[in-house]
Amino acid sequence: MEFDTVLMSRLLTAMTLGFHIIFATLGVGIPLLISIAEFIGIKKNDPHYRLLARRWARGFVISVAIGVVTGTAIGLQLSLVWPNFMEVAGNVISLPLFMEVFAFFFEAIFLGIYLYTWDRFKNQYIHWLFSLPIIIGGGFSAIFITMVNAFMNTPDGFTVEDGVFTAVNPLAAMLNPATPTKVFHVLSSAYLTCAAILAAITAFMILKKKTSDYYKKALKLTLTLTFIFAVITAIAGDSSAKFLAEHQPEKLAAAEWHFETEEGADLILFGWLNDAHEAIGEIRIPKFLSFLAYGDFNAEVTGLEDVPQNQWPPLWVHYMFDLMVTIGFFLPAVALLYFILSKVKRWNEHNKGMLSLIVLSGPLAMLGIEFGWIYAEEGRQPWIIRGYMTVEEAATSSPQISLMFFLFLALYIVLGTLFVLTLRKVFKDNPAEEELEKQYPSVKKGDDA
């Protein structure tokens, strides 16, 4: 029974966060893309881009709604499911949680203004300006919540004596060692994912024979951003790995199946483990793990042998890490291929194969987010606050938790289904070509398709 409530608590939290993160990521990244599109539209006086911003915003509203309700759910659930953890968190790391609410507040207010004032101002830049607080609000939500998560990995800013907090320094807790790299990587990957998803949707429309200028411009814009953010994300991911090597070596070692502390360590991709903890069928890149961890091919990397075995994270996080990294190389490669094709006159960058690859990169990017988080969270096991409190100690003792798990499962299935149905409906009933004509009658329909 004891074991069951802990397991169910973990499953419930993992499910809620795994679901929320989809919409949270969209909530962080899409406003930036909307804003960029609107800005280009006003600057170049090009209705295509302005329409793009409008249509993205319309879809965004629906994802925000789910982001907000699932966020509210996880916020309350943290107290309901992990009461002991939240008691500690409340003492030490509640400042960023509290500030996050202000970020939401700020975002919510300006989102309301932005969505309902498209044609209210003569100077169109005023409307565009309202997009900035939305980007800032969404970005800071991510920054603050990531600080809380960073704290769970490298707790800092307090001392405990006999179970009582004697000195609490809220700023030191917020700016713990994990914060810089984590915040950087979470933000960049959110922007990357949103660019890739919007590119994928555009490519999908072109595949369905909607090859107007409108879609081509959208594709070029989103792929350019995908490429830029993918490069930044890879840099951020690399600095995350360097952080781990220094402060949380067991997480990196588990991801790399790196058992013996050694110099010039190899990077292991995929494969599987035999009973003697040896990797089989793997792709081995000599000395690259040392490079990933310290930027030096001969540096010494701590292995799992230096960590007590009861504190090893589950070894299957290796696959999560590898999948994330693979996606991290796939996304910029696809964008690059598109630009190479479009530079060479004889090749058609809108061929079926190319477009299919772009369509694929959208869902893959979101999977990258999921794999990355599962890796980061499972890699912290068995701790909930590393070094201070284990997951088992933190969970609720309430046996009804199993029932709650299934209730929420049902809720997410309903929300997910309705999300997809509503989005389809919004855009099916209102195709871009028709809307372009209605909103901006000066533009000819489907010009030079």
């Binding site: 709604a65 966020g71 759910a73 107290s79 008691e87 003492n91 509290f98 509503t422």
Partner: protein, 337 residues
């Protein structure tokens, strides 16, 4: 003032804020459904959606602010309330989720169906009912702690007249506050048919609202003597509350100054809510958490208060802008923009 008192005062203020803005939203859902059933929807539903559309997300943040803030200022409340409220809390989350998301789905997705209007109306009444459980258990006697396990006594909760009277009070208050706001909003929009209808709603719900308030008072005296005595010491706050209630209703009855009337009703709830809250002192959760020993570390308390002030400096101008654009822009209210 100590940071503990500032903390609880701020939280209570936000809970009051949520009480008002959420009541407007929840009640509007019920009235929209009622109007649909009685085929009067063409009269008021336009009015309702014009106000609610731009602000629904803001409403939710008030609530998030409260529960995040209370964990920050009084970490023990996460432990006790969190352990005890798993089931009612989860139910409230699910209702909020259904309401919040269906709102977006329907508003942006398709025309309004009966099922949706029903869910929208019903959740509007069920959410305050489920959230009111937290207030009820704060009175003590519903939670036991045995060998480190905190649990809620469902039997006691469901058979307590106090808990049912609080549920009743929350529901009728929602309807009353909402109707009073819509009356004001309709009068600003010069929408006379709608005004006529919502004015009738306000007058109708005023009687149950005041009766439920008195009933709760009586049951509280039986359940928690100490709290009741404290409230009697604050008799002037409740007296003011009743006077403001009468003033508000009188204005609406005589069809004058609807704005002032709504402000009186807001103040009526303000005084009652704060009289109740101050009477609760020194307990956050009777008898487990008291304000002084349950509070967070001092440095955190000060940091939270500082963050709060910084946050307000950011939010108040933004909120004023929002209200200017949607609540006080006469053309927008009248549907011309």
């Amino acid at each position: 003032m100590s940071y503990e008192i500032i903390g609880i005062a701020v939280l209570w203020l936000f809970l009051y804020g949520y009480l008002i803005v959420a009541s407007v939203d929840f009640g509007a859902g019920f009235f929209a459904f009622y109007a649909k059933v009685t085929k009067q929807d063409h009269i008021i539903n336009q009015l309702i959606s014009r106000y609610l559309s731009p602000v629904w997300e803001v409403t939710n943040v008030f609530f998030v602010f409260f529960f995040v803030g209370i964990v920050g200022f009084f970490p023990e409340s996460a432990y006790y309330y969190g352990s005890a409220l798993l089931v009612p809390g989860s139910i409230a989350i699910i209702l909020l989720a259904i309401r919040g998301s269906f709102y977006a789905f329907e508003n942006y997705g398709s025309k309004q169906s009966m099922v949706y209007m029903f869910l929208y109306g019903a959740t509007g009444l069920l959410i305050p009912a489920s959230l009111s459980v937290a207030l009820t258990i704060s009175e003590g006697g519903f939670i036991v702690e045995e060998s480190g396990v905190v649990s809620l006594q469902y039997q006691e909760l469901f058979t307590s007249p106090l808990s049912w009277s609080i549920v009743g009070l929350s529901i009728v208050s929602v309807l009353f506050i909402s109707a009073a706001f819509l009356t004001f909003y309709a009068s600003r929009a010069n929408d006379y048919p709608a005004l006529n209808l919502v004015r009738k709603f306000t007058l109708f719900w005023s009687t149950p609202a005041i009766i439920a308030g008195l009933t709760t008072f009586i049951f509280l005296s039986q359940h928690n003597e100490r709290h009741y005595e404290n409230m009697l010491d604050l008799w002037w706050m409740f007296g003011l509350s009743v006077a403001l209630f009468i003033a508000g209703i009188w204005l609406i009855y005589s069809k004058r100054h609807y704005g002032l009337a709504f402000i009186s009703i807001m103040l009526q709830y303000f005084f009652a809510f704060f009289g109740y809250g101050i009477g609760h002192y020194p307990y956050i959760l009777d008898p487990f958490i008291r304000i002084y020993d349950g509070a967070t570390h001092e440095s955190m308390g000060i940091a939270l208060v500082a963050a709060f002030i910084g946050g307000l400096l950011l939010l108040i101008p933004s909120l004023i802008l929002l209200m200017k654009l949607f609540l006080f822009d006469a053309d927008y209210v009248k549907g011309k923009k």
